[in-house]
Subunit: 130 residues, 2 copies
DNA sequence: CAAACATATCAAATTTTGTTTATATATTCC
DNA sequence: GGAATATATAAACAAAATTTGATATGTTTG
């Protein structure tokens, strides 16, 4: 019974519902969610922790990032999560998605920049002879 | 979104889930629930209030009693409530139901006693001529 | 009408959650 | 290896939920 009440406790907060809605279409890392919500990172980590403990989300570590995704691995959770996501209109998270999109674009930009720089450095090394 | 998080908040407490389970087979008045749970009355009223505000239960006043029953008047609530009740095993509330049964029996006994006494008094009045 | 009863509400005490700032840990980049 | 980045955790604090005891309100019974 405690598992059940815990599941609902995890769903009883607007920030957490918002995060679930953001995860609707796939996984995100913590910094993505922080950017999308415009909240400080420990706060977001706290809410992710609550949902992870309740079994609503799972995480996956990759390098220095930790990606979170919805865990609907049993019928009950699937049912609940589906009906929850369906009941939150996209308009509610429109602003968050806009910020997320911008953040992802910038992140991509930064990564490409690093790759180019690295490639240039490599080329330079070769040309000047190692 | 607040309505949604509120609904889950109402479901996020073991006492309240227990009450819902007790209401599974029909309405009960506050004193029945108090007896079944073995809790003090203001506490039970508080939890009933939370669930009523969230739209999970309805009340009906009859004399000095207020009867509460599950409100599954829309698909979403019906779905949630069904799956919740199904997930709480009867064993969890076995003790509560035992106490409830005893309380209801005693209540019936007291009422019958009152009715007999009243009938006797009435008969007596007639015989001695009003 | 007074006593008994059923319930709600209020205020105070307590417990649980959520927020923030600071810091620790681990990973990648240079 | 040192700087930068991503995340978690701890400690302190704020806010919200719960519990309890006291009391108010309305209803029935004698």
């Amino acid at each position: 019974m405690q598992t059940l009440s815990n599941l609902f406790k995890a769903l009883s907060d607007e920030t957490r519902l918002r995060i679930l809605k953001l995860l609707e279409h796939g996984e995100l890392c913590v910094c993505d969610i922080v950017a999308a919500l415009g909240m400080i990172q420990p706060k977001v980590s706290f809410h992710l922790g609550v949902m992870k403990d309740a079994g609503l989300i799972k995480d996956r570590k990759q390098g220095r990032w930790i990606h979170y995704r919805i865990d609907d691995s049993d019928m009950f959770k699937r049912l609940i999560l589906l009906s929850v996501l369906e009941r939150i209109p996209d308009t509610v998270v429109a602003e968050n998605r806009k910020r997320l999109k911008k953040f992802l674009t910038d992140k991509n930009g930064r990564q490409e920049m690093r790759q180019k720089t690295a490639a240039a450095a490599c080329l330079c090394e070769r040309q000047t002879g190692g």
